[in-house]
Amino acid sequence: MELTLNHYLILSAIIFAIGVTGVLTRRNVLIILMSVELMLNSANMTLIAFSHYLQNIDGMVFVFFTMTVAAAEVGIGLAIVVTMFRNKGTIDVGNFNLLKG
């Protein structure tokens, strides 16, 4: 079987959609965050696949920065989760609806 660009693109699109589904269906903040990581990873795969296909290094470099950003976001996100947990004793997003309407 010869691999084509679309193999990678379709796979990453599916994983992206799985990540989206995770965000939409879960209420545990940590799992939502993990789903976001899935989305970012699949976007990375798309970038690398294009980079390889185009024989252009920009995509790979971009992935490098996406990883940096992902790490930074997780850092901040977990800090927020920790503060939240200290205040409310839960990380279930269904319980956070003080601000609404």
Binding site: L24, F96, L98, K100
Partner: protein
């Protein structure tokens, strides 16, 4: 004509000075400074008019650029003044009347803790009003339009401590926003179609664009939107509700803003954009009908009012209806003519009523009576004996507004009715409306005079001694206005009396392009017919006068409180033996009509359906949307993902 800019600079100087130093200075200086600044503006207005008169009639359009104002893309607008005969009439009226009312206010507002603030607002108002009438493009007109609205709101709510007054101010503000919405949209549409908002460029462009397709949907829509703006500002059906409530403000404010100047801005705007309206016959018809119906309905509501200022307020709405009606039948110069004479006699009426209230207030104050309403005509009566000068001034204004021959109001109202009669389409209908309105006008105005000044004094005991004439600083401006209310009409004699109609000739260059854009030729009536019409309208006034005299002098009927009015029929029959037929034919229908008009157009329809109903629908809708903001992140993410699907699906077919 660069000196023209001073006409707006004087009020500005006055208000700035009083803003910064007014608090420390004595009343006399503050008041006189503010008044003199307006007086100076009046002098400038006179000079402008004289200069303009010196030019050929065709060249009486002068633009004075002050600074480069807006440059955005293709739109370049200067902050500039357009000076033409129409402007000159307006600035003379505005500055002249304002000057007199400023002087009057020095006496009226005497002793108020925020005396200087009042004059600052008053000067600010004059400033904006002048900007409104002088602007050479729609955005400047709109600035003035909003500015006078703001001042009106500030001045109505001048005594902020009084809850009701402040609410009246708010009502004026909100209702006017509905009209402004129409103005803004019309403005954008005009810019879209014509690419310019400057009057001098706009009208030829409009004539060029729509001249061959008169009544095209676009121009009809634009003019109807403009009309919406005019109905808001000039208190026409359906947006007139704010004006009677606006009477909560100090009386000089009612005289200046809510009678003589600001409320006529809508009429001015229609006259200014006459070319556009002429291009849309449907809109013209709507304008005429709205004016006619407003003239009649407001007059009928006036019959029932017990508050001296409320009567005058409804009469203002009614008179504005005549002006709008005049524009609607294509007689723009007649509308402006009536605008001017109305400014004279209505300002006089309001200021005189202010003097009455002042007198009553003083008398009641003497006997420490703070419960009796000094504005309620049921507490007055017989004042003729105590304040004869005010009485006579009031009578002059009443004769003038009723359209009795020889006085200013007669000439302008007659011209409107004659033009309505001569026009095609709905001409006869609006003429009929106007004529019935004239009868009622004479009736309620003389009713007011009789109840206030004739008969016996009905105020609290002992307070009669306190009734005395207002100080000269208040009565002097009234005398000037009274003279104007008598002679002001002679600048526009009807064709049967004089070949030369000064006022019409003066304004002719302004409205000529509007007529020629649609090849419109005003109809001329034969002399015989004209005499007949004059006779009809004079007899209308006389009939109204006579009914009032019959009811309130001959039969000595006194006005009753609202609760008792339902039993008026029984009252009339038993006590006064008034002819049943007369009662059934004249009085009862009038009272019913009045109550009906009041119910439909004031309390019920406008407030409940238009204002509150829309607000409620919007609120319910907002509440539904608000519930979508659940506060749950998961739901938000779901909505976002749905948005993603929608947008990507929408872009897929590209």
């Amino acid at each position: 004509m660069d000196f023209a800019v001073w006409i707006v600079l004087f009020p500005l100087i006055g208000l700035l000075f009083n803003t910064f130093f007014g608090k420390k200075l004595p009343e006399k200086i503050v008041g006189w400074l503010a008044s003199l600044m307006i007086g100076a503006s009046f002098v400038v207005a006179l000079m402008i008019t004289l200069k303009l008169a010196a030019l050929d009639p065709e060249h009486r359009v002068v633009e004075v650029t002050i600074f480069r104002w807006i440059t955005s893309g293709n739109l370049t607008l200067d902050f500039a003044f357009l000076i033409d005969p129409l402007t000159s009439v307006m600035i003379l009226v505005v500055t002249g009347i304002s000057f007199l009312i400023h002087i009057y206010s020095i006496g009226y507002m005497h002793g108020d803790s925020r005396f200087h603030v009042f004059f600052v607002f008053l000067n600010l108002f004059v400033f904006f009003m002048l900007v409104l009438v002088l602007g050479n493009n729609l955005p400047i007109l709109f600035i003035g339009w909003e500015g006078v609205g703001l001042c009106s709101y500030l001045l109505i709510g001048f005594w902020w401590e009084d809850q009701k007054k402040a609410e009246a101010g708010m009502k004026a503000f909100i209702v006017n926003r509905i009209g402004d919405f129409g103005m803004l949209i019309a403005m954008f549409l005009l810019f879209y179609y014509l690419g310019t908002l400057k009057f001098t460029e706009m009208f030829p462009a409009a004539a060029h664009l729509w001249g061959h397709s008169v009544g095209a949907p676009a121009i009809t829509a634009i003019t109807l939107l403009l009309l919406l703006g005019a109905t808001g500002k000039s208190a026409q059906i359906p947006l007139f509700v704010w004006l009677p409530d606006a009477m909560a403000g100090p009386t000089p404010v009612s005289a200046l803003i809510h009678a003589a100047t600001m409320v006529t801005a809508g009429v001015y705007m229609i006259a200014r954009t006459a070319t556009l309206f002429m291009l849309a016959p449907t809109s013209m018809m709507v304008v005429a009908l709205i004016g006619g119906f407003t003239a009649l309905f407001a007059a009928t509501i006036g019959i029932k009012q017990m508050d001296i200022k409320k009567v005058l307020a409804y009469s203002t709405v009614s008179q504005l209806g005549y002006m709008v009606m005049a524009c609607g039948v294509g007689a723009f110069s007649a509308g402006i003519f009536h605008l001017m004479t109305h400014a004279f006699f209505k300002a006089l009426l309001f200021l005189a009523s202010g003097a009455v209230i002042h007198t009553m207030h003083g008398a009641l104050h003497k006997v420490h009576d703070h419960d009796t309403d000094p504005q309620d005509i049921r507490n007055m009566g017989g004042l003729r004996k105590y304040i004869p000068l005010t009485y006579w001034l009031f009578v002059i204004a009443t004769i003038s507004i009723s359209g009795l021959p020889g006085f200013a109001g007669f000439f302008s109202k007659d011209e409107i009715l004659a033009n309505a009669f001569a026009s095609e389409g709905v001409g006869y209908v609006v003429w009929g409306l106007g004529l019935v309105g004239a009868v009622i006008t004479a009736f309620y105005m003389f009713r007011l005079v009789y109840l206030t000044f004739h008969g016996n004094y009905k105020g609290p005991e002992g307070s009669a001694e306190g009734l005395k004439e207002s100080p000269p600083i208040m009565t002097a401006p009234l005398v000037v206005l009274a003279i104007l209310a008598i002679i002001g009409g002679y600048v526009g004699l009807p064709p049967v009396l004089s070949k030369f109609h000064l006022f019409q000739t003066w304004l002719k260059p302004v409205f000529e392009p509007a007529y020629s854009a649609v090849h419109y030729h005003p109809h001329h009536l034969s002399h015989g017919l004209e005499w007949l019409l004059i006779a009809v309208s004079v007899s209308a006034a006389v009939i109204g006068l006579f009914i009032a005299w019959l009811m309130y002098i001959k039969k000595g009927l006194i006005a009753k409180s609202d609760d008792e009015q339902s039993g008026i029929q029984r009252l009339l029959l038993k006590k006064y033996h008034v002819d049943e037929v007369y009662n059934a034919v004249v009085i009862q229908p009038l009272i019913d009509l009045s109550r009906y008009a009041w119910k439909i157009f004031d309390a019920g329809f406008i407030d409940n359906i238009l204002v509150n109903g829309t607000a409620r629908a919007v609120r319910v809708f907002g509440g539904g949307l608000r519930r979508m903001q659940t506060g749950i992140v998961g739901n938000y993410a779901l909505m976002i993902a749905l948005g993603v699907i929608l947008i990507l699906a929408a872009l897929m077919g590209r």
